[in-house]
Symmetry: none
Subunit: 214 residues, 4 copies
């Protein structure tokens, strides 16, 4: 039976593994590797604490699995993108795609921020295999077309950093912003606004006025 992608009904074990991963993702995204207790993960996953060890040899490996699982779809997203035409609006499409993806996986930015702040052992892995490619793709797309003509190389880190902060940061800082503005940053309206806002800022950065404006 060629060509037919066999989607097996997930076994009970696969379901359990999935529940564990989801629970772990939420927990690690709040407390980080050290601050999270395996008991908390187990409770939220609805399994016995010992069951985790049927699937992962220890807390750290479970953590790494959570990171891997969170990052893979982004990589896939980018592969898909790379395959497409570079076109002028490619960058903007990618921005939308990233924001949509993060909106559906709001734990991901938190995991990355925590790993960064705690200078965890996975940080360089995340940077190299993940964010660096993402930034290449995004900025490559953005400066594509005629827009990038007057683009100065030295701006790259600044723009890249700003991009990360305005996209990932939006989700990581959501609880603080909710507290200040009494609105939910994860609500679709705000996400849309934020996406537009980033788009505009990027337009400005690539506009010929930019350098002039000191």
């Amino acid at each position: 039976m060629p060509e037919i992608k066999q989607i097996n009904t997930p076994t009970k074990a696969e379901l359990t593994r999935e529940r564990i991963l989801q629970a772990a993702e939420r927990a690690f995204a709040r407390r980080g590797l050290r601050g999270t207790r395996v008991r908390e993960i187990a409770d939220e996953a609805g399994v016995n604490g010992a069951t985790l060890y049927t699937y992962y040899p220890d807390k750290r490996r479970l953590y790494e699995a959570v990171l891997e699982r969170g990052m893979r779809p982004v990589l896939d997203l980018m592969d898909e993108f790379a395959a497409g035409r570079g076109g002028a609006e490619a960058g903007e499409h990618l921005l939308d795609a990233v924001m949509q993806h993060l909106a559906q996986h709001p734990q991901l930015p938190r995991l990355i921020y925590l790993e960064t702040i705690s200078e965890g052992s996975q940080l360089s892995h995340i940077a190299r295999r993940w964010l660096h490619p993402l930034l290449e793709q995004v900025l490559g797309a953005l400066k594509g077309g005629d827009r990038g003509a007057h683009w100065e190389e030295s701006l790259y880190p600044l723009v890249a950093t700003a991009f990360i902060q305005l996209t990932f940061g939006h989700f990581a800082l959501a609880p603080l912003m909710a507290e200040i503005f009494h609105r939910d940053p994860l609500a679709p309206e705000w996400i849309e606004q934020q996406t537009d806002f980033i788009r505009k800022l990027i337009h400005q950065m690539f506009s010929p006025d930019w350098e002039a404006n000191a």
Copy 2:
């Protein structure tokens, strides 16, 4: 003896308390309240673990003292500012001041990010007594002068969020950016570049072109 600012020699106890606070600040800024072990703080402060309890009744109160101590100078900064004239460049001066302060207290943004991500009990206190006033001050100054003429109120949360992310986030994400770009975000050049960059972005946001550019 006029003109002589009487600085009392700090007692031994005051020095110890200070060493503890500094060690705790560094530790909490990496691991958060839960992830930090009092042993680590004590070791880094060069005192016995039990000595911490001479100064603070428990880990949580030490944590709160660290937050308080980190936030007070920023509040002072703002009082000083509020006292000054609002003038046109006031906002930009404040931006410089904030960036300089954070450059000297790079743990502060990390503390806030961790508290935010872990949805800690101090979060609303930080938001209300601290960031909200700071944002009021900064954005008030920015839209001061003729610039704010075409300012639309609904932009406030977006601009405020962006401000926090580009200033505080610069320091919180420093290890990640160092990893990606192999340069140190805490180096004066990058901080200066970043400050200029933010300044320009803000100019754009307040320019009459902003709304047009959709």
Copy 3:
């Protein structure tokens, strides 16, 4: 299969819980709640210190469980008694029963004495749910029959107190008496002697001579 009292084989966990309770009883009966270390209980129970917490949430609750367990049989004893006929010798049977029970649970009087002397939080519970009923029962039985004719109510506290001291106190003070007399108060002969002795004293108290004798 009638007549066969089905005694479920205790599970391993039940056995462990029982070992812990017994060890805790001995330890608390010597040192009280505060003076006992959980390590000591664990060691004597032959389990790891952490295992205690599988069965009781903390030291205090274990202590309370020990008290509860020690008191229940006495309450049962009294229920059994209350069900029987009050008859003339009822009181003396009860005296025998109490002494026999204490002989087999010599920790119980010590627990009560320690709780009393340290004015522990369980004291009023012990007094109300436990000793008060016991005294009611015993003294009720004793003054039953014609004996109680010339019984004066104001004697009640004196007689009750004496009863407690001569029964419970015999076991609580055993180590001291052993030291002084080089004989073991827990030896059956002495217990029998002591029981007779109490019986005689009580006879005297209820004899018509009592009030005359000043």
Copy 4:
């Protein structure tokens, strides 16, 4: 200046030592050696925790000093008594004296009970140097005169034990009896009643009827 007993005004140090001893007595009488914290003693004595160590090398020695101090007056009492005539009522005078002394030093019985129940290292010392002589004296006096004629030697431990329990026990169990009867065993009326009660019981024990009554 011979013969004149010089009562020096106590020095400040002597006063401090006294305050410490009193505080320690109260504390040890509730919690025993192990269960008492030196901090508690210091606080109640109104001195710094370190000050205790100016007077006693460690907690155990302070405890022993408390015991010594509590026991000496009783020994003095007995010496005084031994010097007096043995007369018929000597025993009853001694009973009164003991009860009065304990009423003024209610911690003493508690200390002894705690030391007994915990089988402390001072127990044999207390028994030998203290209670044994006291019992000799008391029972010697009691069986003095014609009363002791039909006294049977084997009763000695029973009577002695009863004596200890009804005198010392009255004070040691005071909190329990207060709880049950809602009256204070340390109130003079009750103490007087209790003394009379003991006196009567002893009369009975020495009466010719005793042996008959089986």
